[in-house]
Symmetry: C2
Subunit: 423 residues, 2 copies
Amino acid sequence: MSAGSPVIKDLSLPFDEAQLRQIAEDFPTPFYLYDERAIRENARRLKRAFAWNEGFQEFFAVKATPNPHILRILAEEGFGADCSSLAELVLADRAGLRGESILFSSNNTPASDYVQAKQQGAVLNLDDFTHIDFVDHQCGGLPEVLCFRYNPGPLREGNTIIGKPEEAKYGFTREQLFQGYKTCQERGVRRFGLHTMVASNELYGAYFAATAEMLFEIAVELQSSLGIRLEFVNIGGGIGIPYRPDQSPVDLERVGADIEKLFESMLRPAGLHSLRVLMENGRVITGPYGYLVTTAIHKKHTYKEYIGVDACMSNLMRPGMYGAYHHLTVMGKEHAPTDGVYDVVGSLCENNDKFAIDRPLPAIKRGDLLVIHDAGAHGHSMGFQYNGKLRSAELLLQSDGAVRLIRRAETLDDYFATLQGLE
Amino acid sequence: MSAGSPVIKDLSLPFDEAQLRQIAEDFPTPFYLYDERAIRENARRLKRAFAWNEGFQEFFAVKATPNPHILRILAEEGFGADCSSLAELVLADRAGLRGESILFSSNNTPASDYVQAKQQGAVLNLDDFTHIDFVDHQCGGLPEVLCFRYNPGPLREGNTIIGKPEEAKYGFTREQLFQGYKTCQERGVRRFGLHTMVASNELYGAYFAATAEMLFEIAVELQSSLGIRLEFVNIGGGIGIPYRPDQSPVDLERVGADIEKLFESMLRPAGLHSLRVLMENGRVITGPYGYLVTTAIHKKHTYKEYIGVDACMSNLMRPGMYGAYHHLTVMGKEHAPTDGVYDVVGSLCENNDKFAIDRPLPAIKRGDLLVIHDAGAHGHSMGFQYNGKLRSAELLLQSDGAVRLIRRAETLDDYFATLQGLE
């Protein structure tokens, strides 16, 4: 994209009403639909933005969209997986990701999770100084490679970048970080990485360069003070996406170029030019390329106008949980005047089960298909079964145009599974 | 309880450390533990408070604790079930509840749910005027009995009671209510109920009498204007519980007595003395009598002092989702000085996964058992599997002192169930 022409959120859809009705004949709404072609194009764009770094790799934050079919697509594009639990480690394995294609970034970690991660050969990213001994004891020794998560706390550079990191449960202090590298070096660990986290869903691109700068500075100091040459810095994830139509996406090319400049000015002079830059984004990788498709099943007029849909908060928690905005398209009415104002609601017995409040939309009829945008990350994965609601299917709109079921909808048997044999 | 001696939250536990360690040997933490004896005593107390009303019945809000073993205990105490979805209807059936022991109070209801409810003979509580025709068409006719949910909207009495009911998605307007009874009477419905909802988790007892007054007034007017004698009014649920140690429980006896006075002054003179008063509480029925038991697995010192436990937000969403306070007891240190100040955290990769923030507690060691109070409602039922976390087991501490598994913990197979055959 060229400077001076701000890119506004892309509201286009990879399907039209006729195609979606055809899909909905085979798979009843509500369902998730992921756009393989767009996911691949976007993955390639991120890689190009960091192509200046030979060892660059993105480790997809599995929690965003924990579906092995999605992980496989991303693995084909060269991505690894960032896992945070035993189940996510097994999921990554099922998707074919092996060894150091997996980064295990957890906190308050149970022993069983570390054991599993070490068995799979994943890179352990420790969240706390005490976890060095914990891993040593629980896993029968320290691995060859270790990464530590840094929390800058009340330091100036931290405050500017992350908000209030001193109130976050994550990471080592700076002093613990240097102690950690020193003791692990003495105990035979040979390869090291460094990680930090930035604000979640951040649209201000300069944040990411500032994070990289903070880590690069530590990399230089680690070499000069302890003689440790970091193998990689994981500058974290957190690149946001524009949920609102008037928001702009992060300029990935610019973020990549800004970080390249810092790399050249800070690391190359220190002889650290082989340092790998890693990221662990979730949202920006799949978020805009997943849609929650739902049908209007009721119209209600009381003190406001309501459209009831067959999806609910169980399918997508963000609006109810955070008051988050998700754009809505009424299929077949993409260009119709928005002469209605609706609350679009689910059926949960919670008054926050609303996908939209006071939203100007075209006049909606029962039976209309509604598409909820930007549901491709932290969508299905955050669903619950509260009120006895079941989680929906996930479909993949393949690059070849075919549609494939990649997760079936839950059934009553799933809901009752943990009660079987106990009644 | 006698006037003038305010009752403060009961912090006592129905088990000591030795008993809990014994239970934890058979069932690894984290787990839920429900106190059958206390649930039964509390159920009887509610019934006594409304014993002046011959037809009084509490319909337990299943969503609070959707476990058939809990429903069965409550059914033995004479409670019905308030269901809001197809799965909850099936659950109530599995617990042995039949016909009008089930109230079906849903909103934006799918046709399939109404069909199931009518098949089970449940009392349908309609949320919207348009649902009269919807049920008629979808279920092959209207049932013999119907209840309507009233939303007072911006009317004065509504505002005082409910906050901003005109922004709630629920219920009929007053005009729609009268139209609804009239048309259903003409279409052969013979028995009628009336329902409304009050604020959730309300500790101010006078709210409930005000709600009853609002409904009693409508009952009288319905008789005089349409000649309809309501069979019951469901004054809703929403009785709160004291989560904080300095809060007092709602005085159920006083609420019952206040509503009795209104009943005598408003309904008896109108000849409506046979009207049944119903309630549909969840939280106050089981909330204080369920505990989430968890083990301290990590201690972390950075900018604050952290205790990491083996439960997380997936087991209990309220602190992370609402910032809700839940009291904590460190077992074996019930009377120890609170000379530590801790954040008690789970392992989710979300910084809001904290059961307590800056909480004064006795000094905690790894291996200590922590009990999270007031988790008996909207606890397990709101759990999710985000981050690949699994939901815990539910145990019943029976009245006879034995411990019974009433829901097993989830396994990886449960987590992967909807992917099977698709990989």
